[in-house]
Symmetry: C2
């Protein structure tokens, strides 16, 4: 019986990859994933002798999932490779979507499927900045590839009004250069300009950049020029503050205490 | 110069503890943390020879943070120990709160402070159940120890209306036996009774329990009898579905696709 393990190797550094994922990657007969992620995973774990690496384009998530399931149905031990946590905007949902969609229940009926968590990009950025996710928070994707933009706007408005810390994935791409500006404007209806904002790019990788700024600075005409698909943005709540930490280092954190009703 | 490392060892199994945290725990001169968490951490990593374990009560978070900072200011290499991710409802914010509160900037001015992420309880429960956090989600604490209950209710109403997946921490304690019922009723204003719900208790520990149920079942008079402080509840969105996975196993996942405007 084949096995399909959906794994997340974390942000990209070996110190943040779980032993479970190291073990699975090191023993799988097949790795399936986006080209860039397979390259990253190889810097963390050497594939087993004879293991086959199946490299795909970033957009073919459904086809990638089906190919992986077919391999496992043939008796292989397959690792579907994501960065971060495979359960957060990544391949675990894509695999289960294909199982639901498949009309023949026998096709993959003998495959053992497991999901293996990893440190997400938002957790990594938060740790470097201090503790901005220290109280109630949400994690939203700004991409409207698979959902209507008006839903994105409605969710942003709701979570900003409810005073949650907001972690934004996929904030900006070449095809969506301006939606980040709209998102910042919606949040700005409910939060002051001094609200701390953490920008984390490639955290845990050689080119890591973490910057603590403010909502007002992010809203300026060139405020999000540096933001791209590899950036996670964390917008604070009314209880997120920056402090001068030891050595003059600025740290951002969200207090566990809330004084009363939040600004609406 | 002393060092204070705020670490999270993950849900409790060695396969989910990052190598970074293993290294820090194995070399620290002092471990500071809630009694139960120090016991768990010792099943994962042996303290260095001569290391001192400072055991505290669960509620003394501020005192614990100050004691750890004082130790580090004295030149020690201190690990502040949380389970899960220390940046999510845990000690990282407590440490930074104390630094902000301290009137003497010189007291801990030379201490190097670092935060080290871990796999959170919500991620662990999600991985076991399938991929319920596969799209936009939020993470809320139901505890009203540090925030007013009306804010909890307002946040629940907002995120339920915005059709986010909702992960609930601290859902029920001896002192708050009934708030989970109120929370379920608020979510039920916006979600159907068939909405999948994941209950994860002690995931990654020897007594792990993961159950997939529905919002209607959770709302029944004894629907949350098994829920306690060690349970994480994940309530699906309108796009969360259960499927019959291979071997007849039920899996829950949230589709990455959203058909249009969400139910309000």
């Amino acid at each position: 019986m084949g096995h399909l393990a959906v794994i997340g190797f974390g942000p990209g550094s070996v110190e943040w990859c779980t032993p479970e994922v190291v073990e699975i990657l090191g023993s799988a007969t097949d790795w399936v994933g986006y080209d860039t992620y397979l390259d990253m995973a190889q810097t963390l774990v050497a594939p087993a002798p004879g293991a086959v690496l199946h490299r795909t384009d970033n957009r073919q998530e459904g086809e990638r999932a089906r190919a992986a399931l077919d391999l496992a149905a043939g008796g292989r031990s397959v690792a579907v490779v994501s960065s971060g946590d495979p359960g957060v905007f990544a391949m675990a949902a894509a695999v289960l979507e294909e199982i639901e969609r498949e009309p023949d229940p026998a096709r993959w009926g003998e495959v053992e499927i497991t999901v293996h968590p990893g440190i997400s990009a938002a957790q990594a950025a938060a740790a470097r900045a201090g503790a901005p996710l220290g109280h109630d928070f949400c994690v939203l994707s700004l991409s409207d590839n698979l959902k209507p933009w008006d839903l994105v706007e409605r969710r942003l408005d709701a979570v900003a009004a409810a005073d949650l810390v907001i972690a934004l994935y996929n904030p900006r791409s070449r095809h969506r250069p301006d939606q980040i500006g709209k998102a910042v404007a919606i949040i700005g209806r409910h939060r002051g300009g001094a609200t701390p904002v953490v920008l984390g790019r490639d955290v845990g990788r050689p080119d890591e950049q973490v910057r603590i700024t403010t909502l007002a600075q992010l809203a300026e005409p060139d405020g999000w020029a540096e933001v791209d698909m590899r950036t996670v943005i964390i917008v604070g709540s009314s209880q997120t503050r920056t402090i001068d930490g030891p050595g003059g280092r600025t740290l951002a954190y969200t207090s566990r205490h809330h004084p009363g009703s939040a600004p609406g």
